[in-house]
C-alpha cells in the first residue's frame, strides 16, 4: 500500500454540523474537527476528484482506502515538526496547576451499582468536587479559548497516559508561558436567505452559520493531519471542499509521518511501576483520539485483555449520506474522542510494551466492512485511534 500523510489546511472557517437543522442564530458547533464520516467522505472524494462518474464498483474499491486521523496540528514558522493537539482526556478534572486524575475505584463489600454500571469491574472516579469546589472536566490548557472544546498538546496527553501527572500539568501550564497559541477559534458568519422563487435576497431574512477558523498565520499555521493508505497510490488534489457551505481546504502531502512511537519513553514509564507490575500487574490505558465506533459505548477485549473500566463522557451521533444509495445513512452512536478505557491487568512488561507499540495512533478495533452499505470497516475509517498508556490500581483505596 502507498501511504501518504495529508496536511489539510482549511482556508475558510470549517462548517461541519451534525446533520441537524441549522438554527437561525449562531450556535457554536460542538466540535472543531469535522465528524469522522465528513472527513472520510472528503478523503475518498478527493482521491477520485476529476475522474468523472464513480460506479458502484469504484465506490466499493474506495472502501479499501485506509485512513488514520484527523489530528489537529499547528506549524510554527520555519519549524518542521508540528505541534499536535488531541482531544482532552475524559479522566482529568480541575484546571492546570490543580489537576485531579480519575482513579480506578473498586466496590467494597456490600456496595453496588445499577445493572448497566455493573458491566465494569472497576469504576473510574473522576472527582466532581474538591474541598467544596466544583471541578471542571475536561480540562483546558491555560490560554485555550474559553468557547472551544478542550484539546491538549500530544506531549501532555502522552505524559498523562504514562502516569506522569506532574509533567502533563507542566505542559498544560506552559502553553501560556511559552506563548503557544490555540490553533483555532470560533467564527460566526451572517448570511441572507434567498427567495426560492426569484433567487434573490429576502429582505431582512438574515441568519448566521458558525464555523471554526483554523489559524493561517505563518507563525501558527493550523490544519489537520491524516494518513491515507490508498492501494491505487493516488494523491490528493491541491484543493477540495471540507464540510458544509463549499468551504475549500488546501491539501498538501508531507514527507513526515504521524508522530512515531517512543519505545524508550514507554520503557521508562513501565520501569517506574516495576514493583506494581511484578506484584499485581498494570492496566493498559487507552485514550481515544478519534471517536470509537463499537456498536455501543464499550470496545471488546484487546489482545485477550479484558475491559475492566471506562470513562465515557456520553454519546456522539454521526450519520452521513450514502451517495450510491442516495439516502441517509443510519445513525451511528460513537464513544467520543477523549474516552478512556482500561484493560488487563498485564503482568509482563514486554507484553505491555508490545501492545502499546502496536496500538500507537492505530485503531483500537478494525471491524468489518459493509460492502452493501458502501461502508468501510471502522478501523479503516480512522475510528478509535488509540493513545496507549498505563494505569496503576491503588489497592490502598479499597479501605
Amino acid at each position: 500500500m502507498s501511504s501518504k500523510v495529508w496536511q489539510i489546511s482549511p482556508r475558510d472557517p470549517v462548517v461541519a454540523g451534525d446533520g441537524g437543522p441549522m438554527p437561525a442564530l449562531a450556535v457554536r458547533m460542538p466540535n472543531p474537527l469535522p465528524p469522522q464520516p465528513t472527513l472520510v467522505g472528503f478523503v475518498r472524494s478527493a482521491l477520485v476528484a476529476g475522474s468523472g462518474h464513480v460506479s458502484k464498483d469504484d465506490a466499493r474499491a474506495l472502501l479499501n482506502v485506509q485512513i488514520r486521523g484527523p489530528l489537529l496540528a499547528a506549524w510554527s514558522e520555519g519549524g518542521t515538526e508540528p505541534r499536535i493537539w488531541v482531544p482532552a482526556t475524559a479522566d482529568a478534572a480541575g484546571k492546570p496547576g490543580a489537576l485531579h486524575r480519575g482513579e480506578l475505584l473498586k466496590l467494597r463489600p456490600g456496595e453496588g451499582v445499577d445493572p448497566v454500571g455493573s458491566q465494569l469491574q472497576y469504576l473510574v472516579h473522576v472527582p466532581s468536587k474538591h474541598k467544596g469546589e466544583k471541578l471542571k472536566s475536561p480540562v483546558k490548557p491555560l490560554g485555550w479559548p474559553a468557547d472551544a472544546p478542550a484539546f491538549w498538546p500530544l506531549e501532555a496527553a502522552l505524559a498523562w497516559a504514562l502516569d506522569d501527572l506532574a509533567l502533563a500539568d507542566r505542559w498544560l501550564q506552559s502553553m501560556e508561558l511559552v506563548g503557544a497559541r490555540a490553533p483555532l477559534r470560533f467564527e460566526p458568519r451572517v448570511h441572507v436567505a434567498l427567495d426560492d422563487a426569484s433567487g434573490t435576497a429576502e429582505a431582512m431574512a438574515l441568519f448566521s452559520s458558525t464555523g471554526w477558523r483554523y489559524d493561517d498565520r505563518p507563525e501558527n499555521e493550523a490544519g489537520l493531519l491524516v494518513e491515507v493508505n490508498d492501494p491505487g497510490g493516488r494523491g490528493p488534489p491541491p484543493l477540495a471542499v471540507l464540510g458544509g457551505e463549499g468551504r475549500p481546504s488546501r491539501i498538501r502531502t508531507t514527507p513526515d509521518g504521524l508522530p512515531a512511537f517512543d519505545a524508550n519513553r514507554y520503557q521508562r514509564a513501565v520501569d517506574v511501576h516495576a514493583e506494581a507490575l511484578a506484584q499485581r500487574g498494570l492496566f493498559l490505558r487507552v485514550q481515544l483520539l478519534t471517536p470509537g465506533c463499537f456498536g455501543g459505548a464499550l470496545p471488546p477485549a484487546v489482545d485477550g485483555l479484558k475491559l475492566v473500566a471506562a470513562a465515557v463522557p456520553g454519546m456522539q451521533s454521526v450519520s452521513g449520506w450514502n451517495l450510491q444509495a442516495r439516502g441517509p445513512r443510519a445513525v451511528r452512536r460513537l464513544a467520543p474522542a477523549g474516552s478512556v478505557y482500561h484493560f488487563g491487568p498485564v503482568q509482563s512488561a514486554g507484553q505491555l510494551l508490545e501492545i502499546c507499540e502496536r496500538l500507537w495512533l492505530r485503531p483500537l478495533i478494525k471491524g468489518e466492512q459493509d460492502r452493501d452499505a458502501f461502508l468501510a470497516a471502522p478501523g479503516a475509517d480512522g475510528y478509535a485511534l488509540a493513545l496507549p498508556g498505563i494505569s496503576v490500581y491503588n489497592f490502598s483505596s479499597e479501605g
Binding site: 453496588g112 473510574v124 469546589e133 441517509p328 445513525v331
Partner: protein, 670 residues
Amino acid sequence: MSDWVLNVALGPVGRFIGAGRRSRDLWWGSTWLSECSLAVAKVLHVAEGLALIPSRDRVKKLRMRTRQDQYGDRISNHLLLVIQASSADELKSLVERAERAARDHLVELLNRNAQRADRRAAGLLRPPSLSRQIEAISNGDFLEFYAVWTPVNDGGLRKALARAEELMDARKSARLFVSPQWQSPEWQDADFRKSDLDAGRPTVLREARDAEHGGRDRAHVQGLRELRARLGISPGEHLDAVGLARRLACFEDTNGAPRLVPLPFPPLSRVAVDPWLHGAARRATKELASLREALCDRENDDNFSVWCSKARDPETSANESALFPYDASLLLEGGLDALQQELGRTTQQGSLDLVIRDLRGPVEGLHEAMGGPPQGYVALLSMDGDEVGNALHAAAHLGKEALEKLTDALDQFAERAPDILSKSHNGCAFYAAGDELLAFLPVDKALGAATALAGAFAPVVEMVLKLRLQDERGPLSVSLSGGLVIAHLKHDLRDLRAHAQEALDGAKRARRQRDCAQGWLEVRELPRSGVERSCRGPLTKIGAALDCWSDGIEQKKLSMRTAEKILDHAERFEDPKAADLGSLGVELLKSALESQERRGERAWAAEHGAVADVPDGDGPKPHPAQRALAQRVVDLGSWHQARALAAELQIARRLARVAAQRSDSGGGAP
C-alpha cells in the same frame, strides 16, 4: 436489617429538557423526567428508612398532573435515601424494580401518544420505526438510570454519604449507551434522517414529499403538510419517538381530529409580552377587550388553534380568570404577517385569510393604542443552591434528625418556588426540584424573582446556621446563586439554556473565589443586534444596582451616554497589560465622565422634556440613580470595572424598556 445509603440519578437531562425547540418540548420533557423520577421514588419509598431527597412527606404531598389539571408539581431527578435492607441483594432487586418503574412509565407515556398519533397523524407516521424506538427504550435505550449504594458502617452516616457521592461521580464517568442494530432486517424500511431534537435517533415521521414519491396526488400531499402545521411540526422537521410524543402531548382525542387543549403552561411568547399586556389592561382596556372577544369567538375554530393555542396565563391557576390566556405570537411586530407567510404554504389559504382578516383589526387597534407592538424579549433564570451538598454531609455527621431538618427546609423551598415564579412574578418554572430551578420570566420581573427566591431560600440558610454545620474549611454558609439570560423570543432555546447554565456557573465560581456568604447572580443580555453583554455580583447588590439604573433610565434621569463613553474610551485606550488604577486611560475616562455628569445630563434631560436634576447648583436633589452613578464613576479603578458599569447600564436599559410597557404611562425609555 442494616442501613445503606442509596444515591440515584435519572437522565438524560439534556435530551429531556435541553433539546427543546418549542415551549411544549421543554414543558413535557421536564414533566416526564420529573414523573419518571417520581415513579422511582414511589418504589424506593416503600422501603424502610430515611428518605432525604425527596422526603417521604414531600412525595406524599406532591400535586400530580391530572387530566383536568396538567400543571403538577416537580421533583428532582436526583434521589438520596438511607434505606434499611437485610442484604445488598435486596437492595439490588429494589433498584432494578425502580428502574423498571421509570422505564415503564416513560414507555406508557410514549405508547399513549403513539396511539394518539396513529389516530391523528396516520399519514405522517412510520409506525414500525415508532414502535421499534419505543421497544428500544423499554429495553434500555434513551432513559439513563444511575444508582449506587454503600452500607453505613462504623464510619457513620457522613462517611457513607461521602462514599455514595464518590461512587456516583465514578458511575457517571461511564455514561454507557446502547446502540440499536440499525442494519438488521427489521430496520430495513426505516428512514434514517436524524431527529432534529435528538441526533442519536432517526425520525419516525414521513415527509410530505415521500407521499409524492409514492404517486399520491397533490391534495394528499397538501393534506399532510396541513396536518404537520396543525400538530405544531414544521415542514421538513424530523422527530424521534420522544420528540413526537412531546409535541403531541397537548392534543386531545376528539372525533379523530387533532384538537389542541389549552396548554397547561404559559408559552414563551405569552411570558415575554406579559408587561405589555398588563400595560394594555390599564391603557388600552377597550382595545384589549375587543381582541380577546375576537379570540374567544375563534376558540373552537381549528384554523385558529393551529397557530394561536389557548394557554394558561402565567399568574393564574387553570380555573382563574386570565388576562390573556393565549399564545401571544400574533401580538409581536409582524406577527400576523409571519404566521400568514409561514402557514399559508400549508393550510387552506381561504380559511386562514378569514381568521387573519377578523383578527388584524383588533390587533392593529391594540398596537395603535399602545404606541406599538410589544418587545419580544424574555428572561431565562437558572438557579442552584451553593454548598448544599456539603451541608447535607455535615448534617449527616450530626445524625439523622439534623439531616431530616435540613431536607425539610429544602423541601419547603422546592414547594414555594413555583408559586413565587408564577403567581408573584408572572413566570413559568419548567424545572424546579430540590435546590435548583429553571424558569422563564418577563424581563422586568426577573430580578425581583431571583431576589424573592433567594428570600425563600432563607429557611435553608437559617437551618444551616441553627445546626452550626461546618466542614474542614470552617462553618458552612449556603446560599442561592443564579444565571439570568435576557434574549429575544426567536433566539434558539437550546443556546439560551446553554447561556443560562454558563451564567450560573460563572456566578457560582465568582462567589467561591471571593469566599462570599451571599449568593451571586450573573446577568447576560443577548441582543438581536450588537454584542452580548454581562455583569455579575452578589445577588442583592447587582439586583439593586440594575434596579437603580433601570429606574433612573425609565424616569429619564440617566442616559446611555455614560455607557457609550466608557465603551468609546475602552476602544481607544484600554491596554490589557495595564488594567490598574494608574492607567492613564481610566483617568481620562473618569475625567470625561465627571465632566459629562456636570453638563451632559442636564442638556439631555431638557432635550427629552424631563426635569434636569443634576447634582450641582441650587436645583432639586439629584435622583438616586444619578448619585449612585456619580459615586461609581469616582470609584472606577480599572477597565474591567468600567466595562462592567457599561454592561450594567446597557442591561438596565433593556429592563427599563420592558418595564415601561407595564407602566401606566407607557414610559419611553431611550
